[in-house]
Symmetry: C2
Subunit: 199 residues, 2 copies
Amino acid sequence: MPPYHHGQLRTALLEAAERSLRENGEEQLSLRELAREIGVSHAAPRRHFPDRQSLLYALAETGFARLDEQLRAAVAAAGEGYVPQLRATVKAYITFATDDAALLELMFSSKHRPGAEQVVAAAEPAFTLLYGLIVRGQAEGRLAAGDPERIGLVMFATMQGIATLINTGLARPELLDDLVETAVEQFVGNVKASSVRSG
Amino acid sequence: MPPYHHGQLRTALLEAAERSLRENGEEQLSLRELAREIGVSHAAPRRHFPDRQSLLYALAETGFARLDEQLRAAVAAAGEGYVPQLRATVKAYITFATDDAALLELMFSSKHRPGAEQVVAAAEPAFTLLYGLIVRGQAEGRLAAGDPERIGLVMFATMQGIATLINTGLARPELLDDLVETAVEQFVGNVKASSVRSG
DNA sequence: ACCTGAACACCGTTCAAGT
DNA sequence: ACCTGAACACCGTTCAAGT
């Protein structure tokens, strides 16, 4: 018979929730079902997550952390060149986002209730990475001049949008590489035509 | 006392649902509550929408139709110039998308169940409009050459992503005009630097 | 053809009580 | 400090029956 105290319930809930989210989407995720799977009463999760939403927020937060990791790994593996690093970043982002569409939706679903601030904060490292990439691109004359934050937001928006299009079925997944390339060309296009000719 | 047959139940449901969606989001939308508001039994909606999801699909479809209308109106009001028309389109899209964030989410939420095909089909006119804008831009030497569908997808993605960023709170709404301008410059930037100097 | 009313199987949330 | 069990107020969905 199982012990009265689970001991790892918080972790177990997060793991089960992550799998459920990936497999069946946010709507299908049920606290009672997670509790059943784990073998605990339906009221037990309350100690760790006061309500369903707080569990979802936690998933979104770890999602942003993992996204940041994967982006940094992609940059590190891309070598020294600026355009290859930029391309790797864009591709890594979209790959992450299309690999777990439900998680991406959760991360970007517009929740304005109190508690979402932590999610916004969790998104910051990924933004900082992007910001650095832009500042460097401008310093090396690869990107057009301008407010890096604004350019970074538009870049992030483009990647996010491409992922959404693929996840929605509005763009076929096979187009991923083409779309990545088109996006990258758009980012570096301003300069490419005037001051830089080849990669 | 109300008549046994409502007569306009389908329309009444759609209107009430649209308002509920805008005010409280998709999760809060309840068929039973809509039925109560309208003054009909909780089982009555079933005649018109077999389940909750089909009502949501219907909202997404009319959303795309309205989006298309607003985009065309914006283009028509923008005058003859290409860049003004492009800018007006981008701004109209993002304005639509941020005016009713829940509807946008619904329109783009990734549903792969049967029934979503109609939603995808409803999105087509807006895409066609964009496609035409791109073909014209290329013909006039304002946009870089390349597969118009690919460029259109990336353009759509950029607009959609900017809207998502604003709706999520990752970008402040006041940045809207700046972000629109940055996006437009990105679209026409390739050409501006080499063959076209001024607007 | 359209709507009702009761019934079923689920939820999330709350709270006194147990260990 | 952590978990249970019963209770509450909601859902979506189904279906025989009413008009």
